[in-house]
């Protein structure tokens, strides 16, 4: 019964929302909108569980003195401080807390995010180095294509030979686009097939372990 109810719900709602896509009436669109609001509600409940997991995970780490356990205090402190500032700052007369929350976000969290993102540039360089080592025919093809693309998008490329930007554009618009579209066809059918498998109850791994 524990499995039958979710399977039944998925079957009924899956078929309903499949039909809903073809029915533009007010009732149909309203039901769809309400279902989206339900999703938000469910997410709100799930976030409580997620925060519980985060707190448990770090408390356990501190308790068991796992490697780098003192950093867990920083995580928990960040969670408590930012939550309190965010919640209390909304109350009248406590605008200062909201301001502190905003500044912590702007001057601490945002730069840390940006720093992490910036690391990507270095990783790209090391990954490109590996990808462009011409150890096979495919890698050689990649190297040549990459050479033209990189030269084609900078002014130096056109200075060397004015056809280089055209070659770069052709590589992007013809072979690259063809490959992308081929992958997208497969992805589209894969998504439809996965949805169908779940709606028909053939795929049950999402229920846990693909049980019978």
């Amino acid at each position: 019964m524990r499995r039958q109810i979710p399977l039944m719900l998925v079957l009924v709602l899956g078929i309903f929302f499949f039909i809903q896509f073809f029915v533009p009436s007010r009732l149909s669109t309203n039901i769809y909108q309400v279902s989206l609001q339900w999703l938000i509600l469910i997410s709100a409940f799930a976030i409580v569980l997620a925060i519980g997991s985060l707190v448990n995970h770090h408390l356990l780490k501190i308790k068991r003195r796992r490697e780098h356990w003192p950093y867990s205090y920083a995580t928990l402190a960040g969670l408590v401080v930012m939550s309190l500032l965010g919640i209390l700052g909304r109350f009248p007369g406590l605008g200062l807390l909201d301001e502190i929350y905003y500044r912590l976000y702007l001057f601490v969290q945002a730069p840390m995010d940006a720093a992490m993102f910036a690391i990507l540039a270095f990783y790209m360089a090391s990954a490109s180095y590996r990808a462009f080592r011409a150890r096979s025919k495919e890698a050689l093809l990649l190297l040549v294509s990459g050479f033209f693309i990189m030269l084609g998008v900078i002014p130096l490329g056109a200075l060397i030979w004015d056809r280089i930007p055209d070659i770069a554009e052709w590589i992007m618009m013809v072979p690259n686009m063809a490959a992308k579209r081929g992958i997208l066809f497969g992805v589209g059918l894969g998504i439809t097939a996965t949805s169908l498998k779940i709606i028909l109850g053939i795929e049950r791994s999402w229920l846990g372990g693909g049980g019978k």
């Binding site: 009436s25 799930a46 569980l49 997208l184 791994s205 372990g209």
Partner: protein, 397 residues
């Protein structure tokens, strides 16, 4: 002395000018008239939920001269209504000659429309009232008939192959290197006594790639339960976290080792994209997992994760349908499931005939699409006029 005299004369001249009466400012000339738009037609917007009427008109002849700035659309309950009873319902700039009134107060009631052209110089002229039009809601979107037919055809093909598989027909599925390596990757982690890291993407549960990732997680968790290998599943989305937890727990139960399930193995990290990447990088460098799985939807963090994993020496198996992240995974990981292989993974690993049937259905549908593409290409080469017709057939409204 002479300069003082000159300055004095200038000042005197200025004073004399100030005492003169000011000439009257010339009145602004009336802007040149503009010709009104031609025939205005109104009709119910097709395939919608009602309360919407589409209006189109013939542009003002002055638009070709570049004199027109735009068109204002008005609605009224009567064609003969006085000016004050016409409600403004839209504005479109020059170059466009249609508008959609989505604020029709009542379905089934006649409304009339007029269009006022506004010139760049401020003149305006209003058209004749349109024909009466009434909005209504539809119960079937005829512009999606092609999608309906394609979906039903796809379902029929898939159901056919499932039936064939259930009857015991052997279905050949090509070897997917990344999935064949799963067993080996889990075995390696077991031998090394290190954990396995599984990241189910950074997207929400409404993304089918995430569901595909969770399906693979179920299969991987069964193997880790069998070998008693520690599993780490960090999550970015709270709903995905709760589902992942259930998937792993059930996988352990199914293998008959519910006691081996560690509640702390599936955990929530953070909602922040780069925060999550940083957290997973930290896990990889501290815990040194022997195998990393990156399955599902990824964005800019894909390379950050995969490169860190590669630096730790882990075997890495990635799978995503995000085509812009595929090159990064292919470069930095040992195996990559490209696009649809991610969706095929669960069937491939489970070897359930019904699931394999759906794979065959997918393949045949793909073959059908390729056939249609070739046929469409050939037809449009033979007769270029057919191209528009083919594109119309393929457009979903």
């Amino acid at each position: 002395m002479r300069s003082i005299t000159v300055i004095g004369l200038i000042l005197l001249g200025s004073a004399a000018a100030l005492t003169q009466p000011m000439p009257a400012a010339p009145a602004d000339p009336a802007p040149p008239p503009v010709q009104p738009p031609g025939l205005v037609t109104a009709m119910d917007t097709p395939n919608d939920a009602g309360n919407s009427i589409s209006v189109d008109w013939r542009p003002s002849p002055d638009e070709a001269q570049g004199l027109v700035e735009g068109y204002v659309v008005y609605r009224s309950e009567s064609a003969e209504a006085p000016e004050s009873l016409w409600t403004r319902v839209g504005y479109v700039p020059y170059g466009l000659n249609q508008s959609r009134d989505q604020s029709v107060p009542e379905n089934g009631m006649d409304f009339f429309y007029r269009v006022r052209v506004v010139s760049r110089l401020g003149a305006s002229a209003v058209s004749q009232a349109s024909n009466p039009a009434r909005s209504s809601e539809q119960w079937y979107n005829s512009m999606r008939t092609n999608a309906l037919i394609a979906s039903l055809l796809f379902v029929a093909i898939v159901v056919y192959f499932i039936t064939m598989a259930q009857k015991g027909q052997h279905l050949f599925v090509r070897r997917i290197a990344g999935l064949s390596a799963v067993e080996e990757a889990v075995g390696r982690a077991t031998e090394m006594g290190r954990p396995i890291l599984f990241v189910p993407g950074l997207s929400s549960i409404s993304d089918v790639a995430t569901i595909a990732a969770l399906n693979i997680l179920g299969q991987v968790a069964k193997k880790t339960a069998e070998y008693d290998t520690p599993l780490l599943v960090p999550n970015r989305d709270p709903v995905v976290y709760t589902v992942a937890q259930e998937v792993v727990k059930e996988a352990y139960s199914e293998i008959g080792r519910p006691d081996a399930y560690n509640h702390d193995s599936v955990f929530y990290l953070t909602d922040s994209q780069m925060g999550f990447a940083s957290g997973v990088d930290g896990i990889m460098t501290r815990e040194r997992p022997a195998t990393n799985f990156f399955m599902g939807m990824f964005w800019a963090e894909s390379l950050i994760l995969a490169e860190t994993g590669a630096a730790t020496g882990a075997i890495q198996i990635a799978g995503t349908d995000a085509i812009h992240q595929l090159p990064f995974f292919i470069t930095a990981c040992d195996y990559t499931l490209i696009g649809e292989e991610l969706y095929a993974a669960s069937a491939y690993l489970a070897r359930d005939p019904k699931l394999l049937g759906t794979l065959k259905g997918q393949d045949w549908s793909k073959a059908l699409i390729v056939l249609l593409l070739v046929a469409g290409l050939a037809l449009s080469l033979i007769n270029p006029g057919v191209r528009g017709f083919i594109l119309n057939i393929l457009t979903v409204g």
